[in-house]
Symmetry: C2
Subunit: 351 residues, 2 copies
């Protein structure tokens, strides 16, 4: 079972994925699947994955058989999972205690360090039976089905103790961390609120206390007034290159309506979300010749779903630059393409 | 001139390196120098760099000519530099103001976003006239000279307004961001305290308030008591795989003596620092077959050099895994090699 460990000074958490237990000779392994091998996510190869958790499939077809258009399966090498815990630690004797805030997750406080069981979930959403169909190439109806699945898995996992956050994301291209080429998203449910989200919540709350408004609502108004970082928009969403983009061609997609919790996505929003993702991603992949990228959902953790200062949003991070010593040492990213320049290229890219 | 921009919600800063102004067709550029081209850092090619800032060189030899064993030059494409500023902004009208905290750095507060001139410095320390001699292969005297140069540049730049922090780091290997193969370190001086360092200071201060001790001093005592994450030690330094390692084979090197500011490094410490870096890096490069890595210095910013709760330290980050969507979305790193396993391999690696 994996273990969550907290860095004692900054409070940042890491997942020690003990089941992988990689040795020096196991690195590097940076390749996508062998082209010759059977793809476990393709139609007809359903037996190559663990049994499916759920699927959108044609009436009359059976689990783990063809007939599906979206399929959700457990990750074969879960970073976090819901197995029962073995809490034997290697540290000096500490106190084992159950923290009511963390429900049934046990947290161990050693005399110096803190750790927690790696309880959670790690699922894969196979976005299509077709191997070569990337997100933006689908018809709008299929993209809606993908985000509907995101929402449904989000709702299902957030309802489960001790889950406090559900991270949904996509890695595309080996450089961006994809180990399989077949289009898929991943879902990792964590028993704690991740640092990135906690920082957003804390900053947004502080803005709200100072000015009485949600900073994301303000950002939408400001971006529309300025205009030079806008990429696309429709009735319910806006896509732009953020003012402090860490990466060249970084993109944020925000719902116009104030909504902290992604689970609140309704059918009319699904339609507009799918439309703006399709157009934005088409522009991005055309302009940059199908770059590797990461796409991540940011949404409210348990307890913050009604926060008046938070908006769920999507971040699209093309992986064109390398994160190196300066970034690791400082947290300051060096971006060689001003977001105004990136947005202009994306706006002007015909699709 | 570069521009520092602040993300309005988290407060994180980025550097928009406008002089690079990369277009879509400029990506990807992930290669080290062309093997055929002349290396600007090799002995005899001194004219290929901007004029040197300083050098350790034989008596009677002249700047920008051979005879040096360490040479410091300006970065040709500085992320930050000390040119005078042109503050024309693309935002809606804002207030231009000079903040006394930031000395002569002007900060612009727009009606929504905040930015600052990219004032600072960006230097390259060429660690040897030889192209193929990596850090751990040098004799101990040369390694001392390298860290002496780090210290001297740190002292020189910290004395300059509006500098508040000096980040020294090394990128080795194209995957780790090195654009030139010839062994070198880089120095970037910033007009603000970087987030990573501010988070360490805040966490360490809070630990000190709670318990009355420096958390780094406590960590040294704890690691020595437990022992299973230790790699090497000498009279003045300790090297270990940190408890919450984000990366496989991540290494921290800490001075045993409580010292917040790297500038305080004296000659006896230089000797022990050079010895522990040599042995630790030899073990790391042998065990992992010369992996790409980043090495970063963490030290006290201006105003915190006497902090009773902070220790300067080195972090060595082998780049064997890929930072992907989950890490960007959450800040939680998935590490497939427990630090106890990594440390055992490193301890047992004969050099």
């Amino acid at each position: 079972m994996s273990e969550l460990r907290q860095e004692p000074i900054t409070g940042n958490w890491v997942i020690i994925a003990t089941e992988r237990n990689k040795r020096p000779s196991d690195f590097p392994a940076r390749h996508e699947e062998r082209k010759g091998g059977a793809c476990p996510f393709c139609k007809g190869n359903e037996k190559l994955t663990p049994p499916e958790i759920t699927a959108y499939r044609e009436a009359g077809t059976h689990p783990d058989e063809p007939g599906w258009w979206i399929r959700v399966v457990p990750n074969k090498f879960p970073a976090l999972d819901n197995k029962s815990a073995d809490l034997a630690g290697s540290e000096l004797p500490g106190t084992l205690w159950v923290d009511s805030k963390h429900a049934c997750t046990s947290e161990i406080r050693h005399n110096f360090y803190t750790s927690m069981n790696g309880t959670g979930a790690h699922e894969v959403i196979v976005e299509s039976p077709e191997h070569d169909q990337s997100l933006e190439q689908h018809n709008p109806a299929q993209i809606q089905e993908i985000f509907r699945t995101w929402r449904d898995r989000h709702r299902a996992l957030m309802a489960r103790a001790p889950i406090r956050y559900v991270q949904i994301f996509k890695n595309v291209g080996a450089i961006a961390g994809a180990s399989l080429e077949h289009p898929h998203s991943q879902v990792i449910a964590t028993p704690l609120i991740p640092t990135v989200i906690e920082n957003e919540l804390a900053g947004a709350r502080s803005f709200f206390v100072d000015r009485g408004t949600c900073p994301y609502c303000e950002m939408i108004a400001h971006e529309e007034a300025v205009g030079d970082r806008l990429i696309a928009g429709n009735q319910q969403f806006i896509a732009f290159c953020p003012y402090a983009s860490r990466f060249p061609f970084e993109i944020t997609i925000l719902p116009r309506r104030h909504l902290a919790d992604f689970s609140g996505l309704d059918d009319s929003m699904l339609q507009d979300l799918s439309a703006i993702v399709k157009v934005t991603m088409q522009k991005m992949t055309t302009s940059l010749s199908r770059p590797p990228y990461n796409l991540t959902l940011h949404t409210a953790p348990a307890g913050f779903t009604e926060a008046p200062y938070y908006h769920w949003h999507l971040e699209i991070l093309p992986r064109l630059t390398i994160v190196a010593g300066f970034e690791w040492g400082t947290g300051i990213y060096i971006n060689p393409t001003p977001p105004e320049t990136a947005a202009r290229y994306l706006r002007e890219t015909a699709i």
